[in-house]
Amino acid sequence: MTHDGAAGGTVREIRDAVRSRTRSAVEVCRDALARIEALEPQLHAFNTVIADRALARADAIDREPERWRDAPLAGVPVALKDNLSTRGVRTTASSRILDGYVPPYDATVVTRLEMAGAVIVGKTNCDEFAMGSSTENSAFGPVRNPWALDRTPGGSSGGSAAAVAARMAPLALGSDTGGSIRQPAALCGVVGLKPTYGRVSRYGLLAFGSSLDQIGPVTRTVHDAALALNVLAGADPADATSVPEPVPDYTAALTGDIRGARIGVPRALLAQGVDAAVARALDAALDVLESRGATIVDVELPHAGHAIPVYYLVATAEASSNLARYDGVRYGFRANPEPGTRNQELRTMYSRTRAQGFGAEVKRRIMLGTYVLSAGYYDAYYLKAQRVRTLILRDYEQAFTQGQAVDLIAMPTSPTPAFRIGERVEDPLQMYLADVFTVSANLAGLPALSVPCGFTADRLPIGLQLTGRHFDEATLLRVADAYERDTEWSTQPPPILSR
């Protein structure tokens, strides 16, 4: 697949051009920065752009061609979700409570990207602390979808997905706790991969739900996602939940040969609430996979229908604990307490700092999580949810090993295309239900990706989600890449690029 170089280039194209010195890293970086400058007023995909630093870094790469000659991401501009720590660059998680915070260290993924030759251009807008499905929960205002500016890009990594769709960067990182990489990728017409839990170090990711969070790439092609995963994956002494599983060359898996691959479709789960255009796009995608030699079978995931409540009980419990650290003492914003009884002042400072620093959705989740962990309700909600989580995990294990033993499970990434900004903000429960097809992979720790698979009649992108076995990203990427070879969805630029 080729992409128009003038429209930014893919990770692979840029990397090859910089390594062969056909293009300089500075030239590539200027190109990305120019597009960011031109489109940012309309999209609001970035919280911070670090133009000078990026250009200096690109120049350093150009000055040492020998050193970077084999670098897997030589000169590739990268946008980072603003919940990934960057030494010396403010990191906000799109929250007021981190006002002024400048991390003293880099996330492991940032170190890995830079060692691979990447050039970080900025930090992308997202839902506050990655809590949301639309970026409307950002303290800095929502991101707009490059395909339709009155619609959300999805979330929470909406800035990352919008940036890649609009060719502001060929690669962005997101984090995915319940679909936050895959759903915005689907709604913006790009590729988003959530690796297996433990595949990529979480060190330096501002924690939301620690048993669910995983960092992954957003790209325009599946091949680029494989290239990025090659760099990101691997155990890290700084993250005890990262797993010392060997890291293959994921690009070597992209053979185009998917004959014999068994792909399961949970028809019962898809029976209701899926937009008609999305359902048609899924069926058409399955036909493409079948024509390439894959076998499509029905699978049962009997407990997947409970995934939303289980997820919102588990994730909010973990969030309420993780976000206890934002108390106005060690970093970020502090509210000035009014003078009161002296021994009450510290508590007042904490609770006022949190009241003024957190937005409504974060408060709602802290409240819910605190409640389900509190004495008297822990067993009925949190512990019960953890038991149903076991059943959801077992459903997948059975689908992958028993009966027809599938290699992958296919479903839509999102039941609907991009929705309008403001459409769901009044009803948090309605917003949560949009995550119905994505949260299970996080609860089960499985790798899953979204690849573009069509458009609605209004030219809104639709995403196909594939979920694989633990640590079998290779099969996931191989099948998605084969699908991409037979379709043209991911080559089509959003209308914002032709205005």
């Binding site: 915070y101 400048v102 003293p104 260290y105 839990y197 433990g198 048993s211 993250d239 005890a240 939940t241 797993v243 010392p244 599983e245 407990h303 409970h306 409540p309 919102y312 309420s320 108390d327 003492v329 060690r330 970093y331 970020g332 914003f333 502090r334 002296r342 002042e345 510290l346 508590r347 007042t348 609770s351 949190r354 009241a355 957190f358 408060k363 709602r364 802290i366 409240m367 819910l368 605190t370 409640y371 509190s374 009925a380 909600y381 512990l383 019960k384 949810a385 953890q386 038991r387 149903v388 989580r389 076991t390 059943l391 995990l393 948090p428 429960l429 609860l443 720790g445 633990h470 640590f471």
Partner: protein
């Protein structure tokens, strides 16, 4: 188990969470948390007899690392982001809590 939240329930949770809520937030959360919990109560219907809870899906835990001293953040870096601090003494500063 309450299907609805009273304002007192919400205030109690807010105190546990160190969150100061204004009266309109208390009303809003009482309604919204009630809605969400009512929806979430479907998990109570699932038979989980004999099913252990899953807290983590890590399949192969990382090996313990060698216990050796390594460089870490120095004190000034650790204090650099604090809203109030005593750099010379090496303290974070908070409102007075004793006497």
């Amino acid at each position: 188990m309450p299907a609805a939240f009273t304002r007192e329930d919400v205030a109690k949770i807010a105190a546990l969470a160190n969150l100061e809520l204004d009266p309109s937030e208390i009303d809003l959360f009482a309604r919204q948390l009630g809605d969400i919990l009512t929806y979430a109560e479907q998990v109570q219907q699932v038979d989980t007899t004999g099913v252990p809870p899953t807290a983590s899906v890590i399949t192969r835990p990382a090996a313990d690392r060698v216990d050796e001293v390594r460089p870490s953040l120095n004190r000034d870096e650790a204090l650099a982001n604090a809203p109030d601090r005593a750099l010379d003494a090496g303290f974070f500063k908070v409102p007075r809590v004793i006497g």
